[in-house]
């Protein structure tokens, strides 16, 4: 049997992005023995990538803003699939959460009278994003990190958690993982466990997510018997860079198209004219000449088809690529170089120009960009109680991107940072209360520990086997082409078959080298979670036979009111881990009380 070290805490928090840090701060503040565990170094989590800001109805710029308006914006953005109570708590509490960051040292940009400045963002009725230039995520994570350090919270860095552990009564009681530096196993026993592991975008080929976003929390919760909801709701950006490698995943703003950029296929054809749906025909230009007149004078022509709604553009790109008219790297060309002078491009798109120039030597004033749909955020996640962030298995609490419900089928910009703060704190409170109320010795299941350790070390025991990098690569290809931004029945069925095959290949991976800081092995241990989450997304996408928010079905292009009333819930009823079949089915979404419903009627 393998040796491992053990630690005992009241509360363990897995993941040290914004939500995990906020949860740990809350638990520590309540006097509980708290540990924060993260896969990378502290302060490197994907939260640093958030640029826009934190949405909070503080009313510093527009006094008429209120939580009710923020709530309504959030629900509408999520196409009413949101958990109304989460959206309500989020809108009500985010101003306090932002203010409290200032007491911990955050320096947000200011209004002229010295209050926190707020900026406009898509989908928000009023300017409400508190921000620091374009590095709000960094400010948020650094502030929370410094607060956690000041509170002397125990931090376990570069520690990968493999599985949650339960006790004999099925109560989540800790977790097992390994130190990346040494490869040595470590077991945490805990009265309550918080999952704040963030997103799952690393299962797609074109993604803005970092390597960490492998959906560990989603998968571990499912394996522990928790419910996942709405896993099909994944946010894609229609134009992210696909090539060169150094800029792959960087999102290209819609502004490029607004300023005259056009989409072309590998034949050089401006293809968007062929994808104008009937409902948009009246307002969309019919010829290139007419479209080009529009840029100069909006009354001289109708809008260019490149400016159709996000999912229309995405569908067109998707079809071009699948018909073999894409670029060598599976995208299309976004061309502004041949249409605007270098000087205009540099003036209108300065940061875009500099970023691509610096990172890849791509001069967007001279050559077209290669873009394609890029995975960005997963709205689906672990089903939680809005008040306490408790999952459907006792002892487990989930916050941030790993939790579902808050954003419905689509997330508004700026709502993710505020989500982290509001529900990070609530998860900290929920976990603290549960830990305080839990009596008796916490005894994690020894068999689970042994099995997890054996599975994790198995790749070392095989002399010959699959290369984990290759399996990952193929998984990303599968998800990108078959479960990407536009889905259809036949492709989803095909994806499920391929996932079976990939799962079986993943069980045969072999790795070389030792256990100390071995990225090949680390990737091998990330694969089970990635495969499970990929399967959940695919199952959800197959069963949600409608298009709503971030989920778009080619074969069911419209929203179906009946689907609008249900979450698609996935679970492994006996918590059987990777081997057990995932059950999926619709369950009604919680019904909004009348006073909140009234908010949506007022404006009509």
């Amino acid at each position: 049997m393998t040796e491992y070290e053990t630690h005992d805490y009241d509360v363990i928090v897995i993941g040290a992005g914004g939500a995990g840090l906020r949860a740990a701060i809350e638990a520590k503040d309540r006097g509980l023995r708290t540990a924060l565990i993260c896969k990378s170094l502290l302060g490197k989590a994907h939260t640093v990538m958030a640029e826009g800001g934190v949405a909070a109805a503080m009313g510093n710029v527009y006094a008429e803003d209120s939580w009710q308006v923020h709530f309504r914006d959030t629900m509408r953005g999520g196409k009413m699939l949101n958990n109304w109570r989460m959206a309500q708590l989020h809108a009500m509490e985010s101003p306090d959460r932002v203010q409290e960051l200032e007491a911990w040292g955050a320096l947000f940009d200011r209004t002229t009278d010295g209050r926190i400045l707020q900026r406009d963002f898509g989908g928000h009725r009023y300017a409400r994003l508190a921000h620091v230039g374009d590095r709000t995520g960094l400010e948020l994570i650094r502030t929370l990190q410094q607060r956690a350090v000041a509170m002397d919270i125990d931090v376990f860095m570069e520690c990968k958690i493999l599985r949650l552990l339960s006790d004999a009564d099925g109560v989540v009681s800790g977790a097992v993982g390994y130190w990346r530096a040494t490869g040595e196993m470590v077991v945490f026993s805990a009265r309550s466990t918080v999952i704040a592991t963030g997103g799952a975008g690393k299962s797609w080929k074109y993604t803005s997510n970092s390597w960490e976003c492998t959906g560990d929390g989603h998968a571990m919760s499912l394996w522990a018997g928790a419910d996942l909801i709405d896993m099909e709701c994944v946010q894609f950006h229609p134009t992210g860079m696909v090539w060169p490698l150094s800029v792959r995943g960087i999102l290209v703003t819609e502004g490029v198209r607004g300023d005259g950029g056009v989409l072309r296929n590998s034949e050089g054809k401006r293809f968007m004219f062929e994808y104008v749906a009937d409902m948009f025909r009246a307002e969309t230009a019919e010829s290139e000449e007419e479209a080009d007149r529009w840029y100069e004078d909006h009354s001289a022509g109708r809008r260019p088809p490149e400016l159709l709604p996000r999912d229309e553009v995405a569908r067109a790109i998707n079809t071009e690529v699948k018909s073999g008219r894409g670029t060598p790297h599976g995208g299309v060309f976004l061309d502004i170089a041949s249409r605007r002078s270098a000087e205009v491009i540099r003036r209108r798109l300065p940061s875009m120009y500099h970023q691509f120039m610096e990172l890849a030597g791509v001069d967007i004033t001279h050559e077209p960009m290669e873009v394609g749909p890029t995975c960005h955020y997963i709205m689906g996640g672990v089903r939680v109680d809005a008040e306490t962030a408790a999952a459907t298995v006792p002892g487990l609490f989930v916050a941030g991107e790993a939790a579902g419900g808050m954003h419905g089928s689509n997330r508004l910009g700026g709502n993710s940072l505020s989500d982290l703060l509001v529900f990070g704190r609530r998860a900290g409170i929920g976990a603290s209360d549960f830990a305080t109320g839990r009596s008796g010795q916490v005894v994690p299941n020894q068999a689970e520990i042994d099995r997890t350790v054996d599975e994790a070390l198995a790749p070392f025991t095989r002399d010959e086997g699959e290369n984990p990098y290759q399996v990952h690569h193929d998984l990303q290809d599968t998800m990108q082409t078959l479960v990407g931004i536009i889905r259809t029945q036949s492709e989803l069925d095909e994806a499920l078959e391929k996932l079976d095959e990939l799962t079986s290949r993943a069980s045969r991976v072999a790795v070389g080298g030792g256990r100390s800081y071995n990225p090949g092995w680390n990737l091998a241990t990330d694969l089970p979670a990635m495969l499970t989450v990929s399967r959940c997304v695919t199952l959800g996408a197959r069963d949600r036979r409608e298009s709503r928010g971030g989920h778009t079905r080619e074969d069911f292009p419209n929203a179906d009111p009946e689907f609008g009333k249900v979450n698609l819930v996935q679970r492994q009823p006996s918590g059987g881990g990777m081997d057990e079949e995932i059950k999926i089915g619709p369950e009604p979404i919680p019904e909004m009380p009348d006073e909140l419903k009234a908010l949506f009627e007022e404006t009509h």
């Binding site: 350090v149 000041a150 509170m151 002397d152």
Partner: protein, 274 residues
């Protein structure tokens, strides 16, 4: 709740250094910068030492219809100064060796303790370190925590001294526009040289880090001290060019001395422009 722990605990960590044990892995010509620094500073020291001890040809007086004094010898306050060069109300009679030695101590102390020059000579002469990511030439290192280097902290007082000298050299520059016995006020090349020298010295001195601190940098709430904020905001871009100004003013002060020296020695006459 303990904030950072109530005791001060030194950071103690073990572990072996990794990577190659080469002095540096840099492939570029990292030694160029420190070499230039050493050459220029040495050249200045050699020239100024010679100029100081040769102790003549530092003043062009009424005989040549000019009033030009070398910055190395101004204010010429010893009894040994040539007629017309020394100060009017303050004369030191007990000092018998070259007056420049006494005078240069002022500006020299400012330059030696200047944050930019410290960087230049720590890198160039002391090789600590010669360039970034190139190993220190010394095994022990205590920085500026002990005597004598702890005296670098008195830089702000030498700033005051330097400001005094700047004032005097400015007066020198202004009076250089008086052309005695040659039609009163006029512009000669020499007067322009002295003016340019004074301007460069002011720019170098005001761009000093200590000046930036004393004028406003020490304030935490600029919004409540608008005047100090304005001054700080003005000095900040100047401060960013402190290195360039340090070199420009250093080289130019030597050239000014050379110019006065050549005119005084009669190599050529200072041309009058109008």
């Amino acid at each position: 709740m303990s904030v950072g722990g109530a005791t001060i605990t030194p950071v103690q960590l073990g572990g072996a250094r990794g990577g190659p044990s080469a002095r540096t892995l840099r492939k570029d010509r990292w030694w160029v910068q420190p070499t230039i620094t050493v050459v220029l500073l040495t050249a200045f020291v050699v020239y100024s030492t010679w100029a100081v001890f040769v102790n003549k040809d530092y003043y062009v007086g009424a005989v040549a219809h000019r009033d030009l004094i070398s910055p190395f010898f101004s204010p010429c306050v010893t009894g040994s100064c040539v007629a017309g060069a020394h100060g009017t109300f303050f004369v030191i009679y007990w000092w018998h060796i070259t007056p420049a030695l006494l005078i240069l101590l002022g500006p020299l102390s400012f330059r030696v303790t200047c944050y930019y020059y410290r960087r230049a000579y720590y890198r160039g002469f002391w090789q600590s370190p010669p360039a970034c990511a190139v190993a220190d030439a010394h095994t022990g290192y205590t920085g500026e925590t002990r005597f004598p280097l702890i005296l670098q902290n008195l830089h702000r007082y030498f700033l005051y001294v330097a400001l005094m000298f700047n004032t005097i050299l400015t007066i020198d520059a202004v009076t250089a526009f008086r052309l005695p016995g040659d039609g009163g006020i006029g512009v000669s090349l020499g007067s322009l040289v002295l003016s340019a020298n004074a301007i460069l010295l002011w720019a170098y001195t005001l761009s000093c880090h200590a000046a930036r601190h004393l004028c406003g940098g020490h304030v935490n709430t600029f919004s409540r001290h608008p005047i100090r904020y304005r001054i700080w905001k003005t000095l900040t871009p100047l401060n960013a060019r402190h290195m360039q100004l340090a070199w420009a003013s250093l080289i130019f002060v030597a050239l000014t001395d050379l110019y006065v020296r050549l005119v005084a020695a009669g190599v050529f006459t200072d041309p009058k422009i109008f």
